[in-house]
């Protein structure tokens, strides 16, 4: 049996990976909006206060909702509390992993590191592996064959997307990766972005996590109840929907293989609850352009540079209204993408990337 290769080869060791290097798309110089140094320093300034407040609300709410879920366990009253607990565990952990991985959420480094480890466990992302994969994501954002974090490859696998709203595919892969790492195996793809000296740390963490999950499963069996797993592990499934809902908007349907975040990333204005869960990552163009700006300063950064960016989508619904039709069209023509219009006040960059013939009207 032969397989027909798709036009895009997303493997980090494949054809497009080599092409990206040959074409100068790997570790390229990306577009940045000009911001005076004095203002940039203000934006980059670190502060423990906002993240301590938000972390106290986040973990405090988990204790509250988890406690009420346990109290009402066995009745329907437990359902809303577990739904809330699940989102805080399986979705808010995504943004905490992200922000603390950058080291920008808190001013104090050990606080970043502590929340990073907790959030990594909840979202089931090995803290070593994912630190390095995310580093690559920032170096080569949506460059085919280089970026290990492309959520929607072309043509889109819509079944996978739907299943991931319940964490199913990600959970399965995370489980396999954890067990593989726990047995001391680092995959060839992981080796492309994790330096050798860091690999033993990835293995150690995987072993600790595996021990926690085995203990939790053992406790569930001992108690004859799924309750321990409802608190540890399963929320990664039943609470994943919000981080997928917001995360798909980051780059979904937009251009690939361009070196301008204005063209391959999406800023979406959102309600305050989603912004709390997502820790302002809805300002995604701004984050990619200036990753050293903490989450709490992103609204200010957005206001400062929006003259140079495509118009933000005004809501999650609006974002999906443009993204879903783009996914459907990519099923027939994987070269199709949503072309971002830059405002008249914006500076153009690398025009050849702006005028692909199959771009949306």
């Amino acid at each position: 049996m032969t397989t027909v290769p798709t036009k895009r080869d997303y493997s980090l060791l494949g054809r497009d990976a080599e092409m990206a290097v040959a074409n100068g798309l790997a570790a390229a110089e990306w577009y940045h909006t000009e911001i005076p140094r004095k203002q940039m320093k203000e934006l980059m300034k670190r502060d423990d206060g906002p993240a301590i407040r938000d972390t106290a609300i986040w973990l405090g709410s988990m204790v509250l909702f988890g406690g009420l879920g346990i109290f009402f366990w066995g009745t329907w009253f437990a359902v809303p509390f577990f739904l809330a607990y699940g989102v805080l565990y399986g979705s808010a952990s995504d943004s905490r992993w992200h922000e603390c991985g950058h080291g920008t959420a808190f001013k104090t480094m050990w606080m970043n590191d502590a929340v990073y480890q907790i959030a990594c466990f909840m979202i089931m992302r090995n803290p070593v592996t994912w630190r390095w994969s995310h580093t690559r994501h920032h170096t080569d954002t949506v460059i085919v064959g280089r970026d290990p974090e492309i959520a929607v490859m072309r043509p889109p696998d819509l079944l996978r997307l739907v299943l991931n709203f319940f964490g199913i595919i990600d959970f399965w892969h995370a489980l396999i990766d954890m067990v593989r790492n726990a047995f001391g195996v680092i995959s060839p793809a992981e080796k492309t972005f994790i330096p050798e000296m860091e690999r033993p740390k990835a293995i150690l963490v995987a072993r600790i996590w595996l021990a926690i999950y085995v203990t939790t499963i053992g406790l569930s069996v001992y108690l004859g109840s799924i309750l321990p797993l409802m608190l540890i592990g399963l929320p990664r499934l039943y609470g994943a929907w919000h981080h997928v809902l917001t995360g798909l908007l980051q780059h979904g349907g937009l251009a690939d293989n361009v070196i301008d975040h204005r063209l391959n990333s999406r800023t979406v204005l959102m309600n305050p609850v989603s912004r709390f869960i997502y820790w302002n990552m809805n300002y995604h163009v701004e984050h990619h352009m200036f990753p050293m700006v903490p989450y709490h300063a992103l609204p200010k950064l957005h206001a400062m540079i929006k003259h140079d960016l495509p118009a933000a989508n005004p809501s999650i619904l609006n974002g999906y209204r443009e993204m879903i039709p783009a996914f459907l069209r990519q099923l027939r023509n994987e070269d199709y993408f949503l072309k971002r219009d830059l405002p008249p006040t914006a500076r153009p960059y690398r025009e050849e990337f702006h005028s692909e013939p199959v771009a949306a009207e």
Binding site: A27, R37, M40, K41, M44, K45, R46, H102, G103, T104, K107, V128, R131, W132, T135, H138, T139, P195, M197, E198, F290, P291, M292
Partner: protein, 105 residues
């Protein structure tokens, strides 16, 4: 190996707790002024990827790379953890008659 002292800028051209980029004969350097009003100099590019550190953030004795948030102690050049694993090269620096000079070997 001999060193030449090269004038970088006036001492006041660098704000306290800040950094500037200095290019000289095809090489690029980062020149720092600490919160204690001391001056330091390192290679200008992050050892992880070729990003100019002068666009980054100075916090106490740390310079944070603007691309991947890798951190170095700019006084010693020590890499402080992932994603930076290789130390920065540092250079002797002095302030004379209101100007900053670095010794380039």
């Amino acid at each position: 190996m001999s060193s030449n002292w090269v004038e970088v800028c006036a001492a006041d051209d660098i704000d306290e707790e800040d950094v500037i980029r200095f290019d000289h004969e095809g090489r690029t350097f980062a020149v720092y002024r600490s919160p204690d009003d001391e001056y330091f100099a390192t290679d200008g590019l992050c050892t992880h990827e070729h990003i100019h550190l002068a666009d980054g953030l100075v916090m106490d004795d740390i310079i944070e790379c603007p691309k991947h948030n890798g951190r170095f102690n700019y006084k010693t050049g020590q890499a402080k953890g992932a994603p930076v694993c290789v130390n920065l090269k540092t250079y002797p620096i002095k302030v004379e008659a209101g100007s900053v000079f670095i010794a380039i070997s």
